[in-house]
């Protein structure tokens, strides 16, 4: 599954997130998508339709397990009940790899069910790296960690987000799931340069891309996964392909979910961009920022 020359997983192509409303279509048509990404927690159940469905899907497609509750950044102790459930899922469904988010989701034994940003400090860096190493040891595999969208930054942060993410990946020896939409959303919300972010991430660490839509709330962008991928995010994706090559790409859509063919069309568009590099407007590291830091300027 992993390419020994690059230590990155071999690309799976372009896939979509597995969502309940699409089950009937998938089972009727077995559509030609390259792979499905599966929310791990939705299948941490004892039995019934969820596991039965995933078993059928797995018989035909590669899958990646994508978690939302690892809470790698929390100062609570690691939750080994959760990790044990995750390991059981891994053993049963043999995903190509496993991913979660560079964030915290709760503290004091309580769960916020959201992806909260970390202060980018030396303390947080050491904390996250140590926990990632323990998680990877427990799971017996390296995992990929995803940059999240954020709506706030901390006064006591001392490290740019892109350096923080790169340092986490390098020190913990893990992969990066680079969410292109999240970079764009956070860049607008915090007025940084998306291109600078992408250019700072070590290519050898990037295992996968996420593409998704967001909502414009006037004063800020919200990572809602309920719209088509915007042109600005497609442009940023082209730049990411130029820098990182054809890593596996996944279209996320979680609300106002369209019919499967529309979702699949997005994955097909990503695939065309991967397969036809001459169609990609090259944007070099020295070029002007592709995405204005204030999109309403």
């Amino acid at each position: 599954m992993f390419d020994p020359t690059t230590s990155r997983p071999r690309p799976l192509g372009c896939g979509v997130g597995l969502r309940t409303p699409h089950y009937p279509y998938i089972f009727e048509h077995w559509p030609a998508v390259d792979w499905f990404e599966v929310i791990s927690e939705n299948f941490m159940v004892r039995g019934g339709r969820p596991l039965h469905t995933l078993t059928r899907i797995r018989e035909r497609y590669p899958i990646v397990l994508h978690g939302v509750s690892l809470s790698i950044g929390t100062t609570d102790a690691l939750n080994f009940d959760y990790l044990t459930a995750l390991r059981a899922l891994i053993d049963r469904f043999e995903p190509a790899w496993v991913s979660d988010h560079l964030c915290w989701t709760g503290v004091g034994g309580r769960n916020l069910h959201d992806l909260l940003p970390l202060p980018f400090t030396d303390e947080a860096l050491a904390h996250v790296v140590g926990r990632l190493q323990r998680v990877q040891d427990f799971l017996g595999r390296r995992i990929a960690i995803e940059n999240v969208s954020s709506y706030l930054t901390f006064r006591h942060s001392t490290i740019p987000e892109w350096e923080f993410l790169s340092e986490v990946a390098t020190r913990a020896d893990c992969g990066v799931l680079l969410d292109i939409n999240n970079i764009y959303v956070s860049a607008v919300n915090h007025r940084f340069d998306s291109i600078q972010y992408i250019n700072a991430i070590p290519p050898a660490r990037v295992w996968q891309f996420h593409l998704a839509g967001h909502s414009d709330h006037g004063d800020y962008l919200l990572d809602t996964h309920d719209h088509p991928v915007t042109d600005a995010v497609w442009d940023l994706y082209r730049h990411a392909l130029d820098r990182f090559g054809c890593a596996s790409t996944l279209i996320e859509w979680d609300d106002h979910i369209p019919d499967f063919p529309e979702l699949q069309a997005h994955a097909d568009r990503a695939r065309r961009l991967q397969e036809q590099p001459h169609d990609r407007a090259h944007i070099g590291a020295d070029a002007a920022p592709l995405v204005a830091t204030d999109h309403r300027a």
């Binding site: 927690e41 939705n42 941490m44 159940v45 004892r46 039995g47 019934g48 339709r49 969820p50 596991l51 039965h52 509750s69 809470s71 950044g73 929390t74 100062t75 939750n79 959760y82 915290w104 989701t105 709760g106 503290v107 004091g108 034994g109 309580r110 769960n111 916020l112 069910h113 959201d114 909260l116 970390l118 202060p119 400090t121 303390e123 947080a124 904390h127 709506y151 706030l152 930054t153 901390f154 006064r155 006591h156 919300n189 004063d219 800020y220 919200l222």
Partner: protein, 277 residues
């Protein structure tokens, strides 16, 4: 101000995000108990003319509440239809203060709601809603309960007659047994039919929910079946099941009625094993 540690930062944000009336009120409440921020939230979170620190954190506070509300509403559609969206919203506001989620999966965020709602003031206006919530929660638990293969009824043919009194049945893990005071299947069925829920009749109602293959099923059952099934679920031997039945239908009819029930339970896929010892 000295920079907060990671743990201090997280506990502060948790408290403000979960404050029931928003981040600004949460900050005032912190000040009232001596844990406030003398220099305001801007001493921790960056704000700018476009979005203040409080507004930025309020984005998370709103997402916290509405993500949970939406998830819970999906699992209690009849209760929402009965009390209306505003009253349900207020119920969940109170519930999350009493029972903030502790489980990594959103699926368990409302695991305490059946107990909570029976103590909530809403149940004064809608006395059948606690039973309704119990029923809808049972459907959720049945949906993803552990799988278990139904046994072949011919397996019983090999059991000697003298072994029957000590035989213990193993029931499907998806089985839920609900003794209810209200006939809540009435409003539930009306909502399923796309009509207004109306109210439930005050009538002792015994319901079993279970899963056959992937289908979630439920049925109102008579008192003698409910009592016998409850005894079987406790692991009582078949002899005790017959005694339980006899207490309801009389000793003369108990054996025949128990045999009938056994057949029904097989047909419904409730029996997944037995222990003849």
């Amino acid at each position: 101000m000295t920079a907060l540690t990671l743990a201090q930062t997280q506990h502060l944000l948790w408290r403000l995000i979960t404050a029931p009336s928003g981040v600004a009120d949460g900050l005032r409440a912190l000040g009232d108990i001596g844990g406030g921020l003398p220099d305001g939230l801007e001493s921790v979170v960056n704000g700018d003319p476009r979005l203040s620190a409080v507004r930025r954190l309020d984005i998370y506070a709103n997402m916290y509440f509405f993500r949970l509300l939406d998830a819970i509403k999906q699992d209690f559609p009849t209760a929402v239809a009965v009390v209306g969206p505003d009253a349900f919203h207020n119920l969940i506001t109170d519930y999350l203060l009493a029972h903030p989620p502790t489980h990594p999966s959103l699926r368990y965020a409302h695991q305490h709601l059946p107990g909570f709602v029976s103590e909530h003031r809403l149940s004064a206006d809608y006395p059948f809603v606690p039973d309704l919530v119990k029923f809808e929660w049972a459907l959720v638990n049945t949906f993803d309960a552990a799988d278990a293969a139904v046994i072949d009824p011919t397996a019983f043919a090999a059991i000697a007659p003298e072994a029957w009194p000590t035989l213990r049945l193993t029931l499907t893990p998806s089985l839920q047994l609900l003794p209810l005071d209200w006939a809540v299947l009435e409003p539930w069925q009306r909502v399923q039919n796309g009509t207004q829920p109306g109210a439930a009749t005050f009538r002792s109602t015994r319901v079993r929910t279970w899963r056959r293959d992937m289908r979630v099923l439920h049925r109102e059952v008579p008192a003698e079946e409910f009592a016998t099934l409850t005894a079987a679920a406790r692991g009582e031997p078949f002899g005790v099941l017959c005694e339980t039945m006899a207490a309801h239908v009389g000793a003369d009819h108990a054996a025949v009625r128990a045999a009938d029930l056994l057949q029904h339970w097989f047909t419904d896929g409730l029996i997944v094993g037995f222990d003849p010892s």
